[in-house]
Each structure stands twice: as structure tokens, then as C-alpha cells.
């Protein structure tokens, strides 16, 4: 399987990962090799097979009144104390007046 350098640059843009020229060349090689190996999946017949949605087959059961609490996967819909603004902003790279400051979204 041949993946072009243009493919690599396009996918890097989708993933929002800036690559150097050397990185793009190396990834072109690696991805061609790795996706080549994926071709072997076609040897497994999956014509009548459903894709796995959850590995244990357990349903994610939302809060429902007719079900016992022990079988529900979501916590009760009760107001809980949220994180404080200070906690939320604690790790932000750049804050100003209680807001996160970023560069413009539009040029």
C-alpha cells in the first residue's frame, strides 16, 4: 500500500499536528508499511458479522425509574459541587481576568 506525501500532509492537517519535512517523510514510509500489513484483515470473512460495540456486551443503562439502582450506569441526577473556577483554570497555559486567553479563531 502506497501512501503519498500529500496524504501525510493532509492527514497531519486534519489531526492538527505540525510536522517537519523529515517527520513527514518518515511517516510516509511507516504508514505505507503499517497499512500494508492491515491488508491481511481481508483474509477474515466478516460478511455476516456485526462490529463489536462494547467488548463485554454490557449495556450502558441510563438512569431509569423502572430499574433497580444497582443496574444503572449513570449516577443519580442530583446537583453536586462542581470544580471551582480556580481549579478549572489551574492548568491553563494563559489566563486573564478569570478567562482562558487564546489567539483569534478567525484571521
Amino acid at each position: 500500500m502506497e501512501i503519498s506525501k500529500e496524504d501525510v500532509i493532509h492527514v497531519a492537517a486534519l489531526a492538527r499536528v505540525q510536522l517537519s519535512d523529515a517527520e513527514a517523510i518518515k511517516l510516509q514510509e511507516d504508514l505505507s508499511l503499517i497499512f500494508g500489513h492491515f491488508e491481511s484483515l481481508n483474509e477474515v470473512d466478516t460478511a455476516e458479522v456485526n462490529p463489536t460495540l462494547h467488548v463485554s456486551g454490557e449495556q450502558i443503562i441510563l438512569a431509569r425509574e423502572d430499574l433497580e439502582e444497582s443496574h444503572q450506569n449513570l449516577r443519580k441526577d442530583q446537583i453536586q459541587r462542581p470544580l471551582s473556577p480556580n481549579q478549572v483554570l489551574h492548568n491553563a497555559p494563559r489566563i486573564e481576568d478569570g478567562f482562558i486567553r487564546i489567539k483569534g479563531v478567525l484571521d
Binding site: V11, H37, N42, S56
Partner: protein, 493 residues
Amino acid sequence: MGVSMTVDSDIGSTAAQHAANFRSNAYTPTDLFEKVNAKITSQNENLNAFISFADEAALSAAENATQRIKSGENGALIGIPIAVKDLLNTAGQRTTAGSKMLEHFMPVQDSTVVQKLKDAGLVIMGKTNLDEFAMGSSNEYSAYGQVHNPWDLSRVPGGSSGGSAATVAARGVPLSIGTDTGGSIRQPAALCGVMGLKPTYGRVSRFGVVAFASSLDQVGPFSRDANDMADLLQVIAGHDEKDSTSSHEPVPNFKSTFDHGFDGVKIGIPSELLQEGVDDTVLESFEHAIHEFEASGAIINRDISIPSIKAALPVYYLLAPSEASANLARYDGVKYGFSALDGRNAEEVMSASRGMAFGPEVKRRIMIGTYALSAGYYDAYYLKAQKVRTVIQKEFNTALNEVDTILTPTTPTTAFEIGSKINNPIEMYLNDLFTLPANIVGLPALSTPCGFSDGLPIGLQMIGKAFGEADLIGYAHAYQSATNWHEFSPTNE
């Protein structure tokens, strides 16, 4: 074995031995904290197993444990030192995920597992080194330097939980916590000669664990023997309302199987998996272990078949990067983590931040995942892999209807030289051949030491039925009662 039972002679003991020594007043958790702290700090010059060490809060925890012991509390792990993979959030203690992206990240909350450890009285001695975002099999992809294998410092400890395995092997701490997405607990356990367990998917909460591949990730314990492993799993297992994928399955007593032995236990060997690429010395130790089980009354079935098992490798290397590419989208240089700060607009800052702070393996996997999920390729790759996953799961279920456990070597080789596979991703990925299937099908699997080759440990893997951890730990306990492979310690202690 410390005949005199002092903290100096017994510093490398198992958790159970420490617990007994606390109760006989040989030393206190506070004494042990000081000694272990000094030992792992000094060992780190050679091993680089830790990214950060215990803080003031850990000393307070040790002092608190000393009081709890004094007041007669019975908890098996009160005051026991433990190391935690630096992928689990620790409130007020830096959590890096082995990445430059989170170099200064300070969690405001504990992960559920860390909270449970603290409640049970364990003392967190530090955060262990790992491949960046848990992506790797050799620990060569940490932004904080390579972890070295205590059995041979020129070799890898395995990965991604390499630091957690190395410090238990070097008898720095008796217990540690790792995570396993494709073998990241079992493979380093095997290469470092300790025990490691990946529980059933959903057995342990993932809340507060830096996400890699959410349908495959699972937190689990490292220890030196089955007894300690049962005690640690007992602490961390169970449903968590903060993780809706954690299971409501009742948590059994993980030692309830300790007197079962092997009589009548049906063991399956998937022979098709052992035909190529496995070192002779690894196979030899594996066969010795099988004979041991047979001699103890187990029934060996070499005819079980999982015909599609070889597809596990491509399935894994599609699903894990696809999920990773979505999970790692959150690192945008805005809310937390590294930010390049400068750029013409928000998008440029984001791309530059990710380009500068992610290492080569993380970028490679984000690229694989983004490509596989991109328009026009979804059906051919991601959907196909999820279908093959269903096929593999059905084959495992069929096999596990015939046998109680499936045995394989944990890894095809012993620990390899640092640098020997770094330039060949496919060869590196092949190292996970035996461990990946359990993640794909969500089953529990453990690795326990079963021999040595040229002074390097070899691991035996046991895969069990869903939520059958007690059975697996029971088998390991019986095996360890009949052999002493788990008792050897490296010279680089």
C-alpha cells in the same frame, strides 16, 4: 528473608511480610517510608523507574498508617509502599503521562484507583516512568528518559508500564499500579520477572486515568506473588459511578481460590500461535510450566483453536490508534498542557503545540488513527477491524467453553537491547502478539515468572474467563507454591 526482622534487612519484602512485621512491632510504616524512599531514590540513578517521588502528603500518609496499625486496624495493605504509573491522576502531584505535553500538569482530583489506594492506607512513593501516553513496548518513548531493566541495564524493561515493573523487580516497592491497553502490564512484568495482571475490561475504574484507547485500557496490579496481587486487586476492583463502563459484576474474595490447586483444571494451548517467531528458550520454559501443571493434575488440551488470532495484531493497531487519535484531540494547547502560545490564530497554536510536545510514537499513532477514520477509509479499516474483533471474541468464547484457562508465553523473547527495535515499528509491535488478544476480547490475563534464559526472566501468560480473576490468581498461587521462579531477584537491586 530477614531473620532479625529489621527495616534494613526486610526492606525488600513482600507486602504480606511487611504487614506481619508491622503487627509484630519490628518497624512502623513511617520507618519503612524513610528507607524505601532512600532506596528507590538511589536506585533511580540506574533504573530511571520514577518520574517523581513522594511528597509531604505521602509522609503524612505513612504517619497516619502507623497510627492505624497502632490502633489495631486489620487492613492487609495499611502502610504498604506502592508506586503508581504516571498515567493516573494524583491530586496536587504532577501527572505527566510520560509526555512533554503534560510536563507541568497538576491534577485537581485523584483518579478513583488512587483514591482507593489512599483509603486502604497504602503509601504512594512516587509516579513511575512509562512510554509517552502508554504507547510503546520498551519504554524508549518516554519524554523523561529510558527505564532500564534491573536484570541487565543495557536492556529494556518492556512497556508501557516499564517503571512500575522495574521498581517491583528491583525490590524498591512491593507493589505497583500499571495500565494495560495491549500488554502494557503483562509484557513488562514478564521482561522484569514479576507478576502482572490485566483485569477484565470494566473490573477496575478508569476515572482519572489519562485515556489512550478507551475500549481497551484497563488498570491493574504488579506484585511479586499471588497473595499480594489478590490483596491489591481487592482494593482497586469494583464499580465506580464516575466510570459508566465499569462493571456492576460483584467483586469476589480474590483469595477464595487459593486452596483449589490444579486437579482437574482444563488448560488450553493455542498451538497455532506458537509455530513461529518464538525463542526456543522461551518455548522450553513454557513447556516446563505445562509439565508442572500436568503433574499437578491439570488436563492439557493442545487442540484448542483460535483460527483468527493472528488478525489480533492488525485489529489492535487499527483500533488503538483510532481511539487514541480521538482521545488525544483534547490536547489543544488551550485548556491545559503544553502551549506553543505564538501563532497567527488558534489553529496554528494548536498544531504547533501538538507538533512540539508529542513524541514520534504518539504522532505515528495519531496519524494511523486519523488516516483510518478519515473519509472513505472508515469501512475498509475501522469497521472491518471491529468486525474481525467480533470474530476473535467468538473464537475465544468457544475455546473457553472447552477449557478453564488458555496458556501462552507472555512474550516471544526475553528483554531486548535498548535501541534494537526502535527503528522498526512492525518488529516492535510483534512483541505484543500474545498479549493483545486479551485486550481485544476484554478478558482477564496475568503473567507470572516461569524461568530464565541467559539470566533474563521469562513470563507465562494465563488468559481466563470474563471476571475470572480469582481463578487466574488461584492458578498462579498454585504454580508459585510448586516453583520458585517468582522468588529470584536481580543483582541490580
